[in-house]
C-alpha cells in the first residue's frame, strides 16, 4: 500500500487537529484554548481541502477562523480573563466524575463505530467538488433552506442586539 501526498497531508493534518483540539479543551487559559482551537480549525480546513471540498475549506478558514473565533477572542479579551485561570471543573471524587464522561464518550464512539462499520461500502467516488457545483446546489435546490438560514441569522442578530442592549444592572453598578 502506497501513500500519496494527500494521504500524508490528511493524516498529518488530522493528527494535528486532534492534538490541538485536545489542548484546546484542556487549557486553563481561554486565549490559549482559542488559539489551539484556531490551529485545529486550520488543520480541519486542510483535511477538508484534501477531501475534495476547497470551497468548504476556504469557508472554514474565512468564517470559522476569521470571524467566529476572532469574535470569541474579542469577547474573551473584553472580559479581560487573561489571569482568570479556571480549574478543570472537577474537585471532589475526581476519578468518579471523570469516569462518567469517559464511559459516555467511549460508548458513543463504539456505538458509532459499530453503526458505521460494514455500511456504506468502502469505495469512494473521489472528485473535487468546486464552488460552482456547491453554489448551484445551494442556490437552486436549497433556496428555501437558504432563506430559513438567513432568518436564523436575522433572529440571532436581533437577539444579540436586544440582549446586549437590555441592561437592568447598569443602573445599579
Amino acid at each position: 500500500m502506497t501513500y500519496s501526498m494527500f494521504d500524508v497531508v490528511f493524516y498529518g493534518a488530522g493528527a494535528f487537529s486532534v492534538v490541538t483540539t485536545t489542548l484546546a479543551i484542556t487549557r486553563t487559559n481561554p486565549v490559549y484554548a482559542l488559539l489551539n482551537f484556531v490551529m485545529s480549525i486550520l488543520g480541519i480546513a486542510l483535511v477538508i481541502f484534501v477531501l475534495g471540498a476547497p470551497f468548504a475549506a476556504s469557508l472554514e478558514v474565512i468564517v470559522y477562523a476569521g470571524a467566529v473565533v476572532v469574535l470569541f477572542l474579542f469577547v474573551v479579551m473584553m472580559l479581560n480573563l487573561a489571569h482568570l485561570k479556571t480549574d478543570f471543573g472537577v474537585k471532589r471524587g475526581r476519578s468518579v466524575r471523570l469516569a462518567v464522561p469517559g464511559v459516555l464518550v467511549i460508548s458513543i464512539i463504539i456505538e458509532i463505530g459499530i453503526a458505521f462499520s460494514g455500511r456504506f461500502g468502502k469505495e469512494t467516488t473521489y472528485h473535487i467538488i468546486g464552488p460552482s457545483a456547491v453554489g448551484r446546489q445551494l442556490l437552486v435546490a436549497d433556496i428555501i433552506p437558504i432563506e430559513l438560514g438567513s432568518m436564523l441569522l436575522l433572529a440571532a442578530l436581533l437577539g444579540a442586539f436586544h440582549l446586549a442592549r437590555l441592561s437592568p444592572e447598569r443602573g445599579r453598578q
Partner: protein, 103 residues
C-alpha cells in the same frame, strides 16, 4: 492519486466530536462550554463533508454551510449571554449560574 477511504476522515470527525463532548461535560467555565460546542459543531460539519465526499455530492458542503450559519448565530447569542452572565454573577462558572432554581 488518492486512495483515502471515507472511514478515516469519518473517524477523525468522531474523535473530534468525542473530544468536544468531553469538554462540554467536564469543563465548568462557560467559555470552554461554548468552545466545546463549537468543536462539536465543527466535527459534525466535517462529517458532512466526508459524506459529501463519499457520495461525490455537493449536498455535504451545503450542509457544511448551514452548520456554519448555525454556528455563527449560536456563537453570537452565546457570547452575549456570556457577557450578561458575567455582569450578573461575576464569574463564568456554569455551575453557579443556577439561580433560576426555586430552592
Amino acid at each position: 492519486m488518492i486512495n483515502l477511504s471515507w472511514q478515516a476522515p469519518a473517524s477523525l470527525a468522531i474523535i473530534l466530536f468525542a473530544l468536544g463532548l468531553i469538554g462540554l461535560i467536564t469543563r465548568r467555565n462557560l467559555i470552554f462550554v461554548i468552545l466545546s460546542i463549537e468543536v462539536m459543531l465543527n466535527a459534525v460539519a466535517l462529517l458532512f463533508i466526508v459524506a459529501g465526499m463519499r457520495w461525490g455530492h455537493p449536498d455535504g458542503q451545503v450542509m457544511f454551510i448551514f452548520i456554519l450559519n448555525l454556528a455563527g448565530g449560536e456563537l453570537a447569542l452565546g457570547l452575549v449571554l456570556l457577557l450578561r452572565l458575567r455582569a450578573r454573577i461575576t464569574t463564568l462558572d456554569g455551575d453557579s449560574a443556577n439561580i433560576l432554581r426555586e430552592s
